[in-house]
Every structure is written in C-alpha cells, then in structure tokens.
C-alpha cells in the first residue's frame, strides 16, 4: 500500500497529473473526515480538503518518503484547518451546520434519538474546544495515531500532545455529562441547513 503511494508520489513529482489524481482518490475520504472533524462544516471541510490536496501537490518535493504519505498528507490537512480563519459568525454557523447535517439520515441507520442527541452534543462539544486541543483529539481518537505521531504532525512535543488530549477529554467529559454542550449549542438555522446542502 505504502509502496503504491510511493510510486504514485514519484510519478506525480515528475508531472504526472493522473498519478496525483489517483492519490487524491485514495486518500480523499480520510482528508474529508479530518477536515470535517476539525471544522464541523461540510462545506468548509470540502474547501479545506481541496486546499490540503493542492498544498500537498505544491510541496511534493518536500516529501522525502521517510514517513507514510497518508501521515504527511494528514499533517498538511491539519495545518490547513489550524490556519483556517474563522470569525464567530462562521463558527456559529458551523455549529448549526453540523447539527443540521446530523439531522439527516445516518450512514448506519437504526440510530435512536438518544444516540443522535449524544452525537450532536459530542460534535458541538468538540467544536467548543480550542483548535489545537481539537486537533490532538481528532488525530489520537478519531485517526488512532499515537501521541508521538500526533506530535510529529502538530510540530510539538509528545508531552504537549498528551497534555492537550488530557485537557480536552476533561472538558468534553464535563460538557457531555452536564449537558452543557447540548444546551449551549445554537439553535438550527435555515442558513446553516442551506450551507450543508451546498456540501
């Protein structure tokens, strides 16, 4: 799998656009999931996924091959999200947006209203975290990376990642247990629903 990536990266470096397209096809779900977890908005996740792939293409020469391509790409996507300029209104819209997105039929089907409420509260709580703590949670909990791997991606010490994960978990537990996340989540807005449909 990694060898296939390396071959595609090599061909992309030589200007083979179809090879890069194949890399995008292979990793697009992972990048979209990551950008969505980081932004809470399907539309912004799409924009950031595009940005991440285009940046990756520009920086292909810097990919030495020592790490896995997916980890390298993940790093670019996370930093694109961290640099994502968002004002309060956009953030609020993202929160409403994710609530609206979750109101649609889930992929698995058969999800109870209680589970849906918990999922909604969890996403809202995740969005309340500071961006760097959210990134640490996304990388370690959703993507299953070790703290050392996450530290390499976030360009910080492993202990910093451990601390961010610890602090984030403490807040999330408090918010989810107390129901504060659900209570503080803004009401769904018409505009947010429209934004999701765009995604």
């Amino acid at each position: 799998m990694a060898d296939a990536d390396e071959e595609l990266v090599g061909r992309s470096k030589n200007g083979d656009a179809s090879a890069f397209e194949a890399l995008v096809r292979k990793h697009q779900h992972m990048v979209h999931a990551l950008t969505y977890r980081m932004t809470g908005s399907a539309a912004d996740a799409e924009d950031l996924a595009q940005e991440a792939f285009l940046r990756a293409y520009e920086r292909l020469d810097t990919f030495a091959g020592g790490a896995r391509f997916s980890t390298w790409l993940c790093s670019i996507a996370v930093h694109a999200c961290l640099n994502w300029r968002r004002d309060e209104a956009r953030r609020s819209q993202a929160l409403s947006g994710c609530a609206a997105e979750m109101a649609g039929p889930p992929a698995g089907g058969g999800v109870s209203a209680g589970d849906m409420a918990m999922a909604e509260a969890a996403q809202a709580a995740l969005m309340r975290l500071p961006a760097r703590q959210r990134a640490a949670v996304v990388l370690t909990i959703y993507d299953g990376l070790s703290h050392a791997e996450a530290a390499r991606i976030l360009h910080c010490a492993e202990t910093t990642v451990s601390w961010r994960v610890f602090a984030a978990k403490r807040k999330l537990k408090r918010w989810l247990t107390g129901g504060r996340a659900a209570a503080s989540a803004p009401r769904r807005q018409k505009g947010a629903t429209e934004k999701c449909l765009l995604g």
Binding site: N14, V24, R37, A49, E58, P106, L126
Partner: protein, 117 residues
C-alpha cells in the same frame, strides 16, 4: 462523570456528512483541473533538467580539458621536438649510407658525410 471509553464512543458516534458517489468520483478530477499548470510544467522540466545540466557540464568540462591539453606548454615543446625529430629522420633518409655525424648547434644543423669508396 463519564469514563474514557464512554467519551470515545460518544465522539465516534458523530456521523460524517453523507456525500454522493458522484461527489467522490468528481472530487479527484476537480483537484486535477486545479493543479497549477505552470507548476506541472516546471515539475516536468525540473525532472528533465538534471540530465541536460549534467550533459552540458560534462561537455564543458571535456572541452576545457581538450583545450588545456592542446595548448599546454609541455605539449607545444613536445610538438616542436617531434617536428625537429621528423626533419632529422628525413635527413637521415637522404644520407643513409655516408652519414657519420649529425650535429645541431647555434649555427643550425650540420653533418659529416663520408664519401663512398
């Protein structure tokens, strides 16, 4: 307060927005069309250029070595010496039988020929 595994399952229960198959089919080609053309061309050129650069460098180095060898003072002296040697050989050929002494001094080349009996 919930424990770690409860938190993890709560976080993982958050569904991702559903996208159509057409979206996943189109997304890579959309990215491909946005790839900067000049960057692609530059990449292609940069992939080729090392060969050209090395070829030009090699040719330049070879030419330099050739010039150095051709016009080196030692080679010039050697060439003059070889020319003089050829002249001597020609003289020797002309006076094959009777030539006894061949001498080169400030007055030029002189030789002594013995008469045949």
């Amino acid at each position: 307060m919930m424990n770690d595994s409860e938190l993890k399952s709560a976080l993982k229960s958050v569904p991702l927005p559903e996208r159509t198959n057409e979206y996943w089919d189109d997304f890579p080609s959309r990215i491909r069309t946005q790839l900067p053309r000049e960057s692609r061309e530059a990449r292609l050129e940069s992939a080729l250029s090392p060969r050209w650069v090395w070829a030009v460098r090699f040719a330049a180095a070879a030419a330099l070595v050739l010039v150095c060898v051709q016009f080196h003072p030692l080679r010039t002296a050697a060439s003059a010496f070889a020319r003089r040697e050829r002249q001597i050989q020609m003289q020797l050929a002309r006076f094959d039988a009777g030539l006894r002494v061949l001498m080169l001094d400030q007055h030029g080349m002189s030789y002594l020929v013995t008469e045949k009996d």
